[in-house]
């Protein structure tokens, strides 16, 4: 395999109001027309500023013993990831982001109105999840054609999978070059709304 770039039009992301409000802690029974309107207006603003993109590749892996996975970037010790990948010989690994302009938008909103900033934060989180879902679905269909199925995607920081894995994932996907997505010294990604994940192929 080799690196494949994936991009969708921001307006194609299905950023549901209900999901945005759920993320903000709303009780669905108490959502008003005005709440929906607020999300819709800010969603327009977010869509105008994001560039949803991803890069992925497909790799062979080995599971030499319980709790140990040989990833393309080296040996990983993680019971949780091991359980997730048991029975897989291959994985997809991807990195996805909605871009740096979103970070500026949040900053701008924080100065003008924290209420809007909180909603925009939730819209951004929903947007990057949706991007991951769309990519995930495409990969599922791709795998299905070959008679394979996919395991639920798994990210560094989930369960006992160390954040250190970000370094390895970055070394094989080169998201710095492909997405302008970078890893900070503290292993947090910049731009902020970004996701890396491993998906087992069975």
């Amino acid at each position: 395999m080799s690196l494949v770039r994936y991009a969708v039009n921001a307006s194609e992301l299905n950023i549901r109001e209900s999901e945005v409000l759920r993320y903000l802690g709303y009780d669905p029974k108490l959502v008003t027309e005005a709440d929906l309107q607020m999300v819709q207006n800010l969603r327009e603003e977010v869509i105008g500023k994001i560039a949803p993109k991803a890069v992925y590749d497909r790799f062979r892996i080995e599971l030499p013993k319980e709790g140990v996975i040989d990833m393309p970037y080296g040996r990983v010790v993680s019971k949780d990831l091991y359980n997730n990948l048991k029975g897989c010989e291959e994985v997809y690994i991807f990195a996805a982001t909605i871009g740096a302009e979103y970070d500026r938008l949040v900053k701008r909103s924080s100065i003008r109105s924290m209420a809007n900033a909180a909603v925009i934060n939730s819209i951004g989180a929903t947007a990057v999840e949706e991007l991951c879902d769309m990519l995930n679905e495409m990969l599922r269909l791709e795998a299905l054609e070959e008679g394979h199925a996919l395991r639920p995607r798994y990210s560094p920081g989930y369960g006992d999978l160390a954040l250190e894995n970000q370094k390895g994932i970055f070394s094989v996907l080169l998201p710095e070059k492909n997405l302008s997505l970078t890893l900070k010294d503290n292993l947090i990604m910049a731009p902020e709304k970004s996701v890396t994940a491993i998906i087992g192929i069975v």
Binding site: L24, I111, A118, K177, P191
Partner: protein, 818 residues
């Protein structure tokens, strides 16, 4: 022949891809390609040899990732200098073997893989330093030029170019990676890349990587239209795909070559390849293009400035430069500078952007503050929130240099004048960092009282600038306007100067428009008319207040009347939304507030039927109405009565709703913002009556701990605490424990709120608490954030864990009022 002469004498060819060739020779994923300079010099030399015999004139050394982040200085096997020196030796060897002593060796410099601050975590100066290490070694080892390539971010490109300029005299070629949208991943368009690159004095500018040759043609054409230096084009061989388990690129040498016909017609003169291209691609492309018509790039006359995304051309239509970021005559702004209230300054910038300013003037000079540090911070922070170009406005040369250096783009510089001493200080900075420089028509003899002499000073400045290599297009003349209250002929002289500068000398002009009315009542009336007259006489840019409706009226109507506003679109948009500056009646009447998330129908938190209007306004998050009502009430009620009788009760209703989960975060914050606007009215009245600064309920520090930059949660807590009448010291994000301790002691703080989002930053929180305890500061520490739990909080020695902002308010009440 020198490279700088060669590229003006005919087409010049770069090598093609390197990485894909090394992979085909066995380079493994994750293996560092630059180690092969030492491990397999034969393969590297062979690759250069093949490219040279295919027609390449410039070798790209195998040093794309050679920097101190990847290669330690003292590594025994692969030291940074070892890797770079070997790369250049291999290139030199290939040159000899191929009998191509006329070929050039370009030290190849790629991106660092780090996003610069404020969005990422790398300091601009650190990036300059890292590039400098690579450049020094390469220059000493005999490179003929430096190729800075595959840049996604114009800011990082600037760091790299500065590093080269400061460490050697080699020609600089800059190529950036544009994606399918025709922009860099960090947003810059092709014109902006050209503008910034030329401002920094590169020898050639262009595109590489990312897409295939056909998709690059448009970007190349746009760049060539604006560039005075040669344009480079090094595309990929299309996009990679997998065939029989091997990576192949979909553009073969013949297709690749044919696509270059459009690229050359579009104006590129330095040609080559990137990922997936081979010596066969370069040969086919070379053979097809070498006989095509070559033309030397012409010198362009566009006057451009840029931010990190887009450029603004100074030309026919007057550019609006917002003047509000300036302490002169503004007591609130001065106070914000003294209090280090950066948000206030940023807010001034954003408001002007909303009012359609094209550029923001930045002046933060105040005798009692460190202007250099403040200028650096404000320029950086402004560029984290706005994409407008900035005008650096200072007489402090050190502040000017630091701001121009840190600025992401090509700035305006305010200002130089005809005094020899000032030109000697300012022009070297403009020459080094680029910029469009405001030039005031005054000199050692003062300000001439007639247009002819002002124009003479302008011409003297233009001539002197040329000595520094600064072209007339990078100057914008300010013929100055003085108040007509002091000199009745003043406007006439200024207008005549504008006309002469435009008609006789083709120079761009700028004015601080409102100076014309100094000393007169209702100044905006004069300002608006004078602005229209100045535009009619050729004013290219105005330093003005975009909040002034008289000025904006003049601007839109003038443009519509002068056919500078296509189909009057901007005028119509302005006119249909035009609201005269009259305050709407408030008392008892209905105002037209539109904000507010809670609809009437499901308003389960409505108070009693006889609820006071101010309580309703706050509850519903109606900012403007809350402020207007407070303005009325303060005439008859004391400030404390309003706070205790309306604001706090309203917030309590909302706070209880939040705790009972009938009101949600955005609504809570909107109410907080409405209460804030009521507070602002009260504060202003108190300040006006000089009653002191009101009663504070206590002082609280909030901070996101070191290593963590997620500050949404912390900001939410801050807004709410302020609402409840606390003085909040917001130390920001990524805050060192030492600063928190120091502030706590200095300000005698009793409550500190710490926030962390990541598990990885919890240790920083623990360290902060440890240092606070060790200092003997008798404060309580409340912690919160996404990963925090009661257990964590206990473990790291916090006094309290709060799950949300309301709980933090309750805790503050308990600690500070109990």
């Amino acid at each position: 022949m020198k490279l700088s002469e060669k590229i003006k004498s005919g087409f010049t060819y770069f090598e093609g891809g390197c990485g894909t060739i090394l992979q085909s020779k066995g380079l493994k994923p994750g293996e560092l390609p630059e180690t092969w300079n030492i491990l397999h010099p034969d393969i590297i030399t062979g690759m250069h040899y093949d490219y040279l015999t295919a027609g390449a004139d410039i070798i790209k050394t195998n040093t794309f990732g050679a920097n101190i982040l990847k290669y330690a200085k003292d590594d025994e096997q692969f030291s940074l200098s070892g890797v770079i020196e070997a790369a250049i030796a291999n290139a030199g060897e290939a040159r000899v073997r191929a009998g191509r002593e006329d070929a050039y060796i370009a030290l190849d410099v790629g991106p660092l893989g780090k996003l610069l601050k404020p969005l990422g975590d790398m300091e601009f100066e650190k990036a300059v330093g890292i590039f400098a290490e690579t450049v020094k070694i390469g220059a000493a080892a005999g490179a003929d030029a430096v190729l800075i390539e595959t840049m996604n971010d114009i800011y990082e490109a600037k760091a790299a170019v500065l590093a080269v300029k400061e460490n050697c005299d080699l020609p600089i070629i800059l190529t950036c990676a544009f994606d399918e949208s025709g922009k860099l991943l960090t947003g810059a368009d092709p014109v902006t890349v050209v503008t910034v690159a030329e401002a920094l004095g590169v020898t050639a500018v262009g595109v590489n990587c990312s897409v295939g040759p056909r998709q690059m043609a448009d970007v190349v054409k746009t760049m060539a239209e604006y560039a005075s230096v040669p344009v480079v084009c090094c595309p990929n061989a299309g996009l990679p795909r997998v065939e029989n388990g091997k990576t192949v690129f979909d553009v073969d040498p013949q297709d690749f070559a044919e696509a270059f016909e459009d690229i050359v017609k579009g104006g590129a003169t330095i040609l080559g390849g990137c990922c997936g291209t081979t010596p066969a691609h370069i040969k086919a492309m070379h053979d097809l293009t070498v006989g095509m018509e070559f033309s030397v790039p012409t010198t362009k006359t566009d006057s451009l400035i840029s931010s990190y995304t887009h450029s603004v051309a100074v030309g026919d239509k007057t550019v609006l430069i917002g003047e509000r970021i300036n302490p002169t005559g503004k007591s609130k702004f001065k106070q914000a500078l003294r209090d280090h209230n950066i948000d206030y300054i940023l807010q001034e910038g954003l408001t002007q952007q909303d009012k359609k300013a094209d550029v923001l003037d930045v002046n933060v000079g105040l005798p009692e503050i460190d202007e250099v540090a403040m200028m650096k911070e404000v320029v950086t922070e402004l560029q984290a929130v706005t994409d407008l170009p900035l005008q650096i406005d200072t007489t402090n040369i050190e502040a000017m240099e630091q701001a121009l250096r840190l600025y992401n783009g090509k700035a305006m510089v305010n200002s130089v004048n005809g005094k020899e001493e000032v030109m000697r200080e300012v022009f070297p900075l403009v020459a080094k960092y680029g910029g469009l420089c405001v030039a005031l028509t005054l000199d050692e003899g003062g300000i001439p009282d007639n247009a002819k002499d002002r124009v003479s000073i302008a011409l003297k400045i233009v001539k002197r600038a040329a000595d520094y290599g600064i072209q007339a297009r990078d100057l914008i003349i300010d013929p100055l306007c003085m108040s007509i209250s002091a000199d009745p002929n003043s406007a006439n002289v200024t207008l005549e100067s504008l006309r002469l500068l435009r008609d006789e000398h083709g120079l761009n002009t700028v004015l601080g428009v409102s100076n014309i009315s100094f000393g007169l009542p209702n100044r905006d009336l004069i300002n608006g008319t004078f602005f229209a007259m100045a535009m009619q006489n050729g004013l290219s840019a105005a330093i003005m207040n975009p909040n002034s409706s008289e000025m904006m009226k003049a601007y839109y109507t003038h443009n519509a009347l002068r056919a500078l506003d296509e189909n009057c679109m901007e005028y119509v948009d302005y006119a249909v939304n035009f609201v005269p500056d009259v305050k709407a009646p408030v008392q008892g009447g209905k105002t037209s507030d539109t904000a507010g998330a809670s609809g009437e129908a499901k308003d389960k938190n409505a108070g009693a039927d006889n609820e006071a209007p101010l309580v309703t306004a706050i509850r519903k998050g109606l900012k403007d109405r809350a402020a207007a009502l407070t303005e009325e009430m303060i005439k008859t009620e004391s400030s404390m009565d309003i706070i205790d009788g309306y604001l706090i009760p309203a917030l309590d209703i909302v706070g209880k709703g939040f705790e009972n989960k009938t009101i949600f975060l955005p609504q809570l914050l909107m109410s907080a913002e409405a209460a804030n606007s009521a507070f602002a009215v009260i504060k202003e009245t108190i300040a006006g009556n000089a009653e002191g600064d009101g009663d504070s309920k206590g002082k609280i520090i909030v901070a996101t701990v070191k290593g963590d930059i997620h500050d949404i949660g912390k900001n939410i807590v801050k807004v709410l605490l302020e609402n409840y009448g606390y003085d909040v010291y917001d130390l920001g994000k990524d805050v060192a424990p030492e600063l928190i301790v120091e502030t706590a002691i200095k300000e005698d703080i009793r409550l500190i709120g710490l926030s962390a989002l990541m598990t990885t930053t919890v240790p920083a929180m623990e360290e902060t608490i440890k240092q606070l305890r060790a200092s003997g500061c008798p404060c309580r520490v409340v912690v919160g954030g996404a990963v925090m739990t009661k257990e964590y909080a206990d473990m790291i020695g916090a006094d309290k864990y709060c799950k949300d902002a309301m709980e933090t308010v309750r805790y503050a009440e308990e600690v500070l009022q109990g």
